[in-house]
């Protein structure tokens, strides 16, 4: 049976269409979820896509966190539901306290849009088990507020527990502390990533097909194949 993977649309989401397409290319059935509807319709995993939910008013992700669908997702994530937050989705996961730290204005204040090399640091999560630790992947990055910050104790804890999922290599595009591009929760089912794997799933539009691994990982995770 094909896995059903939800993709949430908030007012101001931009990359929900691409995320749904990436889910389909990976071999799963994308299910569009609506921010105002708390029902998850039996999906087995959820993607929070990039964009500017609620116009980024107040702080990126601050208002989306209170969307009816998020209350259900936060509960379900506690029970092990795989959740991938991309860009604005990562910001929402931090605001919802599913992930520690925060994403702030890029240090150089410029919006950065480029193909970015990343090193996968942890292949133990629901969203990265198709990779090898240490593997380098090319994924587009496009953000204005992607500078990951957390206090030293949190950063040390993330590093110590192997919860830094990916780091920028070949230049840090936004000033993120310790070059962090992606992190996970202690259980490894919730991952936040600033670059956009859903934009690197087809030769026609992406710089590589490396992004597909995030979506095939969750399918592998759902059928219980050992990582």
């Amino acid at each position: 049976m094909t896995a059903r993977v939800g993709v949430v649309t908030f007012p101001g989401s931009l990359d929900d269409g691409d995320a749904a397409r990436a889910v389909r290319i990976a071999g799963a059935e994308p299910v569009r979820l609506w921010h105002g509807d708390p029902e998850l319709y039996g999906v087995e995993a959820v993607v929070l896509p990039g964009g500017f939910s609620y116009g980024d008013y107040l702080r990126c992700g601050a208002i989306a966190r209170f969307a009816p669908v998020m209350e259900t997702i936060v509960d379900a994530a506690g029970g092990g539901l795989p959740v991938l937050g991309i860009c604005n989705g990562f910001q929402i996961l931090c605001e919802a306290h599913l992930l520690p730290g925060a994403l702030t204005r890029n240090q150089h204040l410029h919006f950065r849009n480029r193909d970015q090399m990343l090193r996968i640091e942890s292949a133990g999560t629901a969203w990265t088990n198709a990779f090898q630790a240490g593997q380098q992947v090319l994924i587009p990055v496009k953000n204005g507020e992607g500078c990951y910050v957390a206090d030293r104790a949190t950063l040390d804890e993330l590093e110590g527990e192997g919860r830094v999922v990916a780091r920028y290599v070949g230049g840090n595009p936004n000033g993120s502390m310790r070059d962090i591009a992606a992190i996970t929760n202690p259980a490894g089912n919730v991952v936040g990533i600033m670059p956009h794997p859903e934009h690197a799933v087809e030769a026609l539009t992406g710089p590589s097909l490396d992004g597909l691994g995030f979506f095939t990982s969750v399918l592998k995770h759902l059928v219980g194949t050992p990582a």
Partner: protein, 87 residues
């Protein structure tokens, strides 16, 4: 109506690139005696009844500020009072 004013500032240890950009622009105005600039946000809340500082604190903690990176203060100002007005 009295209002509750919430001031939200980045914590001192969090880099404020916007403030730095403003500070770096000041020499172009001929200003050379400013050591640093930090930018925050001011929110004014009007309650339907009496201003409720505890409620405002809860709103600030849950929504207006992100306690991971920001500190906030709350205070009541009278309707005709302009806070820290320029003389």
């Amino acid at each position: 109506m009295p209002r509750v004013v919430v001031d939200v500032m980045l914590k001192p240890e969090i880099l404020d690139p916007q403030g730095q950009a403003v500070a770096n622009a000041l020499p172009r105005l001929g200003v050379s005696d400013v050591a640093s600039v930090r930018i925050g946000r001011r929110i004014e809340i009007e309650f339907t009844g009496e201003p409720d500082l505890d409620r405002a604190r809860e709103i600030a903690d849950k929504l207006l500020a992100n306690p991971v990176i920001e500190d906030f203060t709350v205070r009541v100002v009278e309707a005709d009072e302009t806070v820290d007005a320029h003389p």
